[in-house]
Subunit: 217 residues, 2 copies
């Protein structure tokens, strides 16, 4: 008699979904909201977190998981604020995966937290495809990148629950039509909330923090 | 007797290398130089090509292959200049692959061309990993993205033969230290040429076009 062994390799995306589901269940049990910030390199994701930190209540009630290809530069900026932070190095990969996020969360004191931000690897394409167990993805688009990006990179704007337009202080200096950008964003994702923010000039952060606390879940 | 058939699936990266090699051989035979422009969404790659077009000689001596996830917006901008252009839609993928570039080139009149630009999908991570048959990769980094990006996304700067710092007209308005950016770039890739450009204000394009014609091969 010949016995046959069949080895099953689960596809990577399937495994990612399982870790993401496990993470979301854990966070929901603990009463912790997790947001996944996604945008290009230099969209201003870290500066946004720096700016938001004054509006989010006690510095030990929220934490940041910093995703990067290399270096701990962003994590150092967050640590300087007195906010709990871990650095997730993707080792060359263009996005974060759920398993790494899960393990980083397990090393945090979730009972002390209300809110976790994942700052994904700077990239408008790949991170939009990967659920890391967040409750909501947030698209971060800098005014300097141009108003047509939502049409050119639609998946992120379709998957997101809010869009943050950053660096609005640059509006006088760059060809960016804010009305057109709203039309393009809503063409991809009708009615999604859009926040106009300048982290450097402390504009628009209060509205965004209200949405985070009340509207994002 | 039992015969065994073994099916061999060549890995995708291997196949990509073969198409890239085939492309490079063809272009070299035809005397056509191909540059692969890589940078974030909104780094100003299309504006750079628009600006460069006045410096590159006859409009039918160079062509552009526009890589995007979705839309033909960038190709339309290049077409408006009277420059031969094709749009390569990656269909959700975060980078261009060599096979698609090869087939797009086969549909062009290579005998009439000296120079082809590939404008890759807006992404600082994945396109740096894929040879599309170019003679040189060129990293495009906008001043608005921040001076630390070469350290955070090192592979692109390691693989590139030149760096173009775009949107230098924004220097008075953003926290970007140009000396630090040069140090960071040369820390990753010692001595690589760096061009400071403002396409909107027509600055630095002449030096870059001289390098393209003389120094890039």
């Amino acid at each position: 008699m010949i016995t046959k062994e069949i080895r099953v390799y689960r596809d990577l995306m399937g495994a990612n979904e399982e870790w993401a589901g496990k993470t979301r269940t854990l966070l929901t049990e603990k009463g912790v909201l997790m947001l996944n910030l996604i945008g290009s390199p230099g969209a201003g994701k870290t500066a946004l977190l720096e700016g938001l930190s004054s509006y989010l209540g006690s510095k030990d009630s929220f934490a940041v998981l910093e995703g990067d290809v290399a270096t701990t530069r962003d994590a150092e900026r967050i640590q300087a604020l007195g906010v709990p932070v871990s650095q997730l190095l993707s080792g060359g990969s263009c996005h974060l995966e759920a398993k790494m996020v899960y393990h980083a969360l397990m090393d945090m004191d979730l009972d002390a937290l209300d809110l976790v931000f994942v700052e994904n690897v700077g990239n408008m394409v790949c991170p939009a495809e990967f659920d890391v167990g967040e409750h909501a993805k947030v698209a971060v688009l800098s005014i300097a990148e141009g108003d047509d990006k939502p049409l050119k990179y639609p998946l992120l704007f379709r998957e997101a629950k809010a869009v943050v337009l950053t660096k609005t202080d640059l509006l006088p200096y760059v060809p960016f039509d804010i009305d057109a950008s709203r039309r393009y964003i809503w063409q991809i994702h009708a009615g999604i909330p859009i926040f106009e923010v300048s982290a450097l000039h402390d504009r628009g952060l209060s509205d965004l923090s209200s949405w985070i606390h009340e509207g994002s879940a």
